[in-house]
Each structure stands twice: as C-alpha cells, then as structure tokens.
C-alpha cells in the first residue's frame, strides 16, 4: 500500500468518514475547509493518531504546520520523512 493510501485509510478510520473511500481523497485536494471539510478538532484527533501510529508529535509551531496538513500528499510526505523507524 502506498503511504498516501495508508494515510487516507487512517484519516477515514480516525475521523469516522464512513461515506468516502481512501481512493476518493485526491492527493492534492485540500483536507481542511473547502476540500474534505475537516476542522480543527479533526486535526487534533489526527495528530493523536499520527503520534500513536508513527511516533510523530505534530506541533502547531512547526514552521509549516499549515503546509503539513494542506493535502493528503503533504501530510503523507511529512509522515514518511519524519516517522520513527518501525
């Protein structure tokens, strides 16, 4: 499974987005606001899941937090680059 697909599955599972499938989340579609319509509490929940699954603590003060959560592609890249070795 590609990292994008893995992250999309996580988003759907964690946020209980039952009416969409992983391959329906466009890699360059905005996750928040206009696109998938996620909100700040969703970001908080995703940050917990990312911490649990990838040993990665998301911080708002990271230089490009907005960029990290911008799209499925950016979030996947961030996780892939920074995650702790399994």
């Amino acid at each position: 499974m590609s990292i994008e697909n893995e992250v999309a599955e996580m988003i759907i599972e964690v946020l209980n987005l039952e009416d969409i499938k992983a391959d329906e989340i466009g890699v360059d579609e905005p996750l928040f606001g206009e696109g998938l319509g996620l909100d700040s509490i969703d970001a908080l929940e995703l940050s917990l899941a990312i911490g649990q699954r990838y040993g990665l603590q998301i911080m708002a003060n990271d230089a490009d937090n907005q960029q990290i959560f911008a799209t499925l592609r950016s979030l996947s890249e961030y996780i892939d680059t920074n995650r702790s070795p399994a």
Binding site: E13, V14, L15, N16, E18, D19, D39, S40, I41, A43, L44, E45, S47, L48, G51, Q57, I58, M59, A60, N61, Q66
Partner: protein, 451 residues
C-alpha cells in the same frame, strides 16, 4: 474604582511579560508591548475612521495587541465565533464604520478596510511609555453567542464591568504577577476573551504568545515557562484535556489547569488531576454573563459563586445579579441553590434539555453525566431525535474497550428503564466543534451514517 487604568505595574515595565517559545524571536516586555500597541494604533488611524473592529486574530498576543489598540482609539472589538464570509458580511451590514483585523491565513472578498497584524510588528523606540486609559463606560467588546441555539446574538461588554469580572476571576483562581497563562482557547469566545485579554490587561499575569493546540505544543510550552520560574496555568477545554490524556505525554510543572466551554465530567477531571498532578478548576459562565462561579470538579459537585454575584429566580427562570451585570442576564439553565448557603449551587441541566418519557421526567444533562461516568466511556451524548415528546431516546458513545451490552448494563444500574437509549450507537468520535460543543446538524449527519 480606577476602571480607566490598565493594571500595568510600572516597576515591571522592562521585565518579560509575553512569552515566546524559546526558538522564536524572544519575549516581550510591557514597555515593548505598549510601543507595539502605539505603532499599531497609528496604523489603524491611517487606515480608516472606525467605531468597530472585527478581530479574527488567532494568536493570543495579536488578539491582545489588537484589543488594546482598538480600545485606545475609543472603539470596540467584535469577536465573532466564526470567520466564515457570510458571518463577516452580516457584521459588515449591521455595524457602521467597521474595519477588520486578522493575523493571516484568511482570505477575504470584502470591501471592508482590512489590516493584517503580524506578530513581528515593529516596535518604535521611544522614551516615554504610553499606557492607554479607557473610560469605565466605554463599549470595548461585542461577543456573540455561538449560534448552537439559533442566530448569533450580540453581547455588549463595557470596560468597567470587565474590570470587575476580571478581578473576580483573578481572585478566585489566585492569579498574579507570578503566573503565566498558556491558552488553547480562541480569543473569540467569552472564556478566551477573559483569559487572553482581560487577565493580562488587568490581572498583571503573563501570557504565552503563541496559539497552543497540539498536545506536543502544550507540553513544550509548559516546560519552557516552568523553566523561567513563573507558575504555569493551562487554560483549556474538555476536548483538549481528553487529547492530552490520550497522547500519553507527560506534563510536568503545572500549577493549575483551568477548563471551561463545555461540561467536564467528574471522571475526566479526576484522571486529569491524577495524571498531570495539578488542581483542575472548572469555570462556569456564558457569553451573556461571562464567568460567575468555579468548582474543583474532581472533588466538588457544587459551584461556588464569585463574591457579589447572586442567582435569583423569577417566574421564568434564573437571573444572575451583580453590580457588573446591569443587564441581568438570564441563565438558560436549571439550577438548585444550596439551601444552607446561597453562594453554592448545583447545575441540573439546560432548560432545553428537559425531557419526559412515559410520564417520567429527567434531563439530558443528567443522562449524559450518567453515561460519561461509566469507566471506559470517553465521550457520549443522549439525543432526542424527533419532536415527539414520548419517543425513545438514542445515545452515541465513544468507548473503544466496551461493548454495547456492557454500557447498557451500566446505564441500567443508574437510570430508569424508560430512558435507556434505543438504540445505543458506538462511534469512534463525536463531531465536537472548536469550542467543544456538539452542533445539532453534525449529530444528525453522524446518525445518518449509523442507520
């Protein structure tokens, strides 16, 4: 009452007051803050004549700077709960001579004069510090109810009244110059307004500059502030407290945790106190009243009113009575005063929560408490799905370690059979909004997915 003066201590003018995270630009003294305010005030004056300023700033120090500069110009800030374009348009139509202040990441298609307040705002070097004086009778802020109970409704706040309420909150939480507030709440909320703006302005407390959101941010900020020798007070909500517990991160060095905006269960309060080794104070208030009472939820069921605030009943419910609440705000709640000491009261539920099933009465608030007290239930809510008064209740529960049967068995031990939810849905999360509340529309959506 010296309501005109900001409570800035001239002896501490050059001490650090607003705290950045270590890797950022550095801390800000009162002297520098007022210099920035003066610079920003001049920018505003050049931008337009205005009586109102919509402030959408998310960063606490920007909200504080914007508020002080606007108030120093004799104008009032509008703090809308939502920054959606339709909401801004409504304000634009309703309030004359209006401008908008934000701190980035918001796109506008508006004819309003708009100004971005950057936290890297240059300060002027000047010999003299100009500390604004604000008349007690000045309208300083308009807050809006969240709209979960209908259209957003304005609540006007006057400076003298805000001076009073901030003194009461400060005394109750024992906040002073040795304290720093770390805030996860937006400034556009009565609780955020009191803690981000009034406490630093009037209580002399320090403020952590950045917006705190993720558990790791909160953990890092606590460590940094504790290292300065200041007492760390975390100002947050039940949603964030739950996330902090779930993150498994250790928070060391907290003096106090403060929670408001949504009901906190006794179970969560106990877990938080045990895990983070600090007292957790819950604040009771509303947009109409601002805060009026507190309790230490892990150990106390009753709320203790602030000195000088009384609750009085009339034929249609309860009113909050105090010198700083001249508009006599009404509580949309059912409460019970302690028979022996009217400084204490129990919260029984919202007026709109009262339900009657098969001739028996209860409240959703009580049922929700019963659900949340079950060990293993992380979040949950009872619902009346249609308008028929006698329909069965439904409930949503987040409880990864429990089965439906286990939850129903636990409920059966404490509530009448008529109120047992049918069905009970197990879900992975509830659609709480940024303030921790549950919008009705989101619940309906979630239920659709369950059927």
């Amino acid at each position: 009452m010296t309501a005109e003066e900001f409570n800035f201590f001239s002896s501490g003018l050059d001490d650090d007051w607003l705290y950045h995270q270590a890797k950022a630009a550095g801390n800000i003294s009162r002297r520098e803050f007022f210099s920035r305010v003066d610079g920003f005030r001049r920018q505003l004056t050049r931008l337009a004549d205005f009586k109102f300023a919509i402030v959408l700033c998310q960063c606490p120090v920007n909200a504080l700077t914007a508020f002080t500069a606007v108030a120093a110009n004799g104008a009032a800030v509008l703090l809308p709960a939502s920054s959606k374009p339709e909401q801004i348009k409504l304000l634009e139509e309703k309030y004359p001579e209006i401008i908008l202040i934000h701190d980035g990441d918001i796109k506008f298609n508006s004819k309003l004069p708009v100004i971005e307040l950057n936290s890297k705002l240059k300060s002027h070097t000047q010999a003299e510090v100009i500390i604004p004086t604000i008349p007690a009778g000045q309208l300083v802020a308009i807050l809006f109810t969240s709209g979960s109970t209908g259209e957003p409704k304005e609540n006007r706040k006057y400076w003298g009244d805000m001076v009073s309420v901030s003194r009461l909150l400060q005394a109750r939480l024992e906040l002073g110059q040795q304290d720093c507030l770390l805030v996860t709440v937006p400034p556009q909320h009565a609780y955020g307004f009191e803690t981000i703006i009034l406490m630093p302005c009037l209580g002399g407390v320090s403020l952590y500059i950045d917006k705190l959101f993720y558990p790791a941010d909160i953990q890092a900020a606590i460590g940094e502030i504790a290292a300065t020798g200041l007492s760390v007070n975390l100002v947050t909500t039940p949603v964030h407290l739950r996330a902090l517990l779930d993150s498994g991160l250790k928070l060391a060095g907290l003096r106090q945790i403060i929670s408001s905006s949504a009901p906190l269960s006794k179970q969560l309060a106990r877990q938080v106190e045990k895990q983070f080794l600090a007292p957790l104070m819950e604040v009771f208030g509303s947009t109409e009243m601002t805060s009026i009472a507190t309790r230490r939820t892990a150990h106390e069921s009753e709320w203790q009113l602030y000195p000088g605030v009384e609750l009085k009943a009339d034929e249609s419910g309860w009113l909050a009575v105090a010198a700083h609440l001249p508009q006599l705000p009404r509580l949309d709640d059912r409460i019970e005063l302690n028979a022996d000491n009217k400084r204490y009261f129990s919260f029984l539920g919202r007026n709109s929560d009262l339900i009657k099933v098969a001739g028996k009465r209860t409240s959703l608030q009580y049922l929700n408490e019963c659900l949340l007290e079950i060990p293993g239930v992380i979040d949950g809510v009872f619902l009346v799905i249609d308008d028929r008064q006698d329909s069965r209740l439904q409930a949503l529960a987040v409880a990864p370690t429990l089965s439906k049967a286990e939850i129903l068995a636990a409920l059966n031990r404490v509530i009448e059979p008529a109120f047992i939810p049918r069905p009970l849905h197990l879900v992975s999360g509830l659609p709480r909004n940024g303030a921790g509340k549950l919008p009705g529309a989101a619940i309906v959506e979630l239920l659709k997915g369950q059927q």
